[in-house]
């Protein structure tokens, strides 16, 4: 495909400091509201058809009584080497030159191959036409397409916010300032466990955080090369033991 611009100023990515995550789900709610994701009512759970571009997974570590609840937010990893992309027969999902894994809704024909290919289970298929209660009529985000039935969707790194941020910078003839563009989830996170930014910029917060010793990516053996980097949980017991002898 030659439809992309060669020059690459941005490589968007996210760093998730798992140590700071309290599992409060503010990110989940913010994402739902920002991106016109349909409401997950009871019947969706019963049918295992829940749509949630970002989810907080809870798991237990240790044995009772020495047990800890752990939380890890998971969203589309925007893999540089994405398993979902080559399987799409119509090029509805592709990698753009800013490091985003893009889903073109109007191009999508709903084969669901991509969702089968995704090891992180972050792609969601619209089994029904989305409906909102009457009270939500004017609460939809006009900058985001409402996906109709039969279409795949997933986290877009809030591309509408990225585009707006880049446009504002272009209008003022300057570069995007680090921290200027926030996704809905990073903006909502009360503990700053989620941080969004430009990996291309060496001085950005995400670039610095990525260098932390605690960094890891999900399912690294698949070599998907994700643009979401996690920082491991600090175990207070262990580190306390280490530092104080």
């Amino acid at each position: 495909m030659t439809l992309q611009r060669e020059k690459r100023d941005y490589s968007w990515g996210m760093v998730v400091d798992v140590d700071k995550c309290t599992g409060c789900q503010a990110c989940v709610l913010a994402c739902q509201a920002e991106n016109n994701v349909p409401l997950n009512l009871q019947d969706r759970f019963e049918r295992a058809r829940v749509m949630s571009w970002i989810r907080v997974e809870r798991y237990w570590e240790g044995e009772f009584p020495d047990i800890k609840a752990r939380f890890i937010p998971i969203m589309c990893q925007h893999c540089e080497n994405a398993p979902c992309e080559p399987v799409c027969p119509v090029f509805a999902t592709y990698h753009n030159n800013e490091g985003l894994n893009v889903q073109v809704y109007n191009r999508c024909v709903g084969t669901r191959y991509c969702a089968n290919g995704c090891p992180y289970i972050v792609r969601f298929f619209n089994y029904w036409e989305p409906v909102w209660p009457e009270a939500f009529r004017n609460h939809l985000n006009p900058d985001v397409t409402v996906r109709s039935r039969g279409i795949m969707e997933k986290c877009s790194f809030c591309i509408q916010r990225i585009r707006r941020g880049v446009r504002n910078a272009e209008r003022e003839n300057r570069d995007v300032v680090d921290g200027e563009i926030q996704t809905a989830c990073t903006q909502a996170c009360p503990t700053d466990a989620l941080v969004f930014g430009n990996f291309m910029d060496e001085d950005s917060k995400v670039s610095k955080m990525k260098k932390d010793d605690r960094h890891y990516t999900l399912l690294p053996h698949l070599e998907t090369d994700p643009n979401v980097v996690y920082l491991a949980k600090i175990d207070t017991d262990k580190s306390a033991g280490e530092s104080h002898g």
């Binding site: 439809l3 611009r5 753009n96 893009v102 109007n106 509408q160 585009r163």
Partner: protein, 235 residues
């Protein structure tokens, strides 16, 4: 030779049954009609495919507005006739005077009725039908002020995101890219709208003149080093 042929035709005429004599011309005329309808249909499909459908089959795309607002009198520079038959000199107002957010935001915006009332509280005759509607909506006549429910003329499908601001910025900086300008004016924000909207200042009733399909958008983007990444228009 010719005589034999005429004889043959005369013979044929005598032997052809009556029902056939009726049927043949009916079929002839009928098939002409069928060809005409199919031709019109084909023309409709082809023009719709390439851009705007020609309004042959009653699919006229023009929109009827709740108030007959003339862009001519407000934005034009010529002399126009108003609804009461008076000759009015066009005001030549800047497009951005009414479509205020066009240089800064995605939407151009249509002014609220209070905005019209600044002038129309006093300007224009009492007997003008459309102005009576404007004054009623603004609450100058009667006491039930209400917003005017203008109908959209240009509308992108839901899966397309169009933003005015970068286009106005780019076109004001590159006046040579402006097209459709009948007045020849290509400077300033108001001079560039014609590229996509045609010469609105001379329209009694706004109609869409450019197809504004994906091909047109992407062609211009490719020629002007603007983004052609699908995600810049579809998200």
């Amino acid at each position: 030779m010719l005589a034999t042929l005429l004889e043959f035709l005369r013979e044929k005429h005598r032997t052809t049954p009556m029902w056939m004599k009726v049927l043949i011309p009916v079929l002839g005329v009928g098939s002409l009609g069928v060809v005409a309808v199919m031709g019109a249909f084909l023309a409709f499909v082809v023009t719709a495919w390439l851009g705007q459908p020609i309004p042959v089959l009653g699919f006229d795309q023009s929109v009827e507005q709740p108030i007959a607002f003339p862009h001519t009198i407000h934005a034009g520079m010529g002399v126009y006739t108003d609804s009461t038959g008076d000759q009015v000199q066009g005001l030549g107002m800047d497009c951005t005077f009414c479509h205020r957010t066009v240089t800064s935001q995605a939407n151009a915006g249509v002014p609220p009725v209070q905005f019209c009332a600044y002038c129309h509280q006093v300007i224009g005759g009492e007997e003008s039908e459309p102005l009576t509607q404007v004054r009623t909506a603004a609450g100058i006549i009667g006491d039930s002020p209400h917003p005017i429910d203008w109908k959209r003329v240009h509308r992108m499908p839901d899966h397309v995101r169009f933003v005015h601001e970068p286009h106005i910025r780019y076109l004001t900086q590159h006046p040579d890219k402006v097209t459709n300008s009948t007045s020849g004016e290509t400077m300033g924000a108001a001079g560039v709208c014609s590229t996509c909207h045609g010469d609105v200042a001379s329209m009694e009733e706004v109609a869409q003149v450019e197809p504004l399909k994906m091909g047109q958008c992407v062609n211009c983007h490719r020629d002007n080093d603007a983004p052609t990444d699908c995600a810049s228009c579809h998200h």
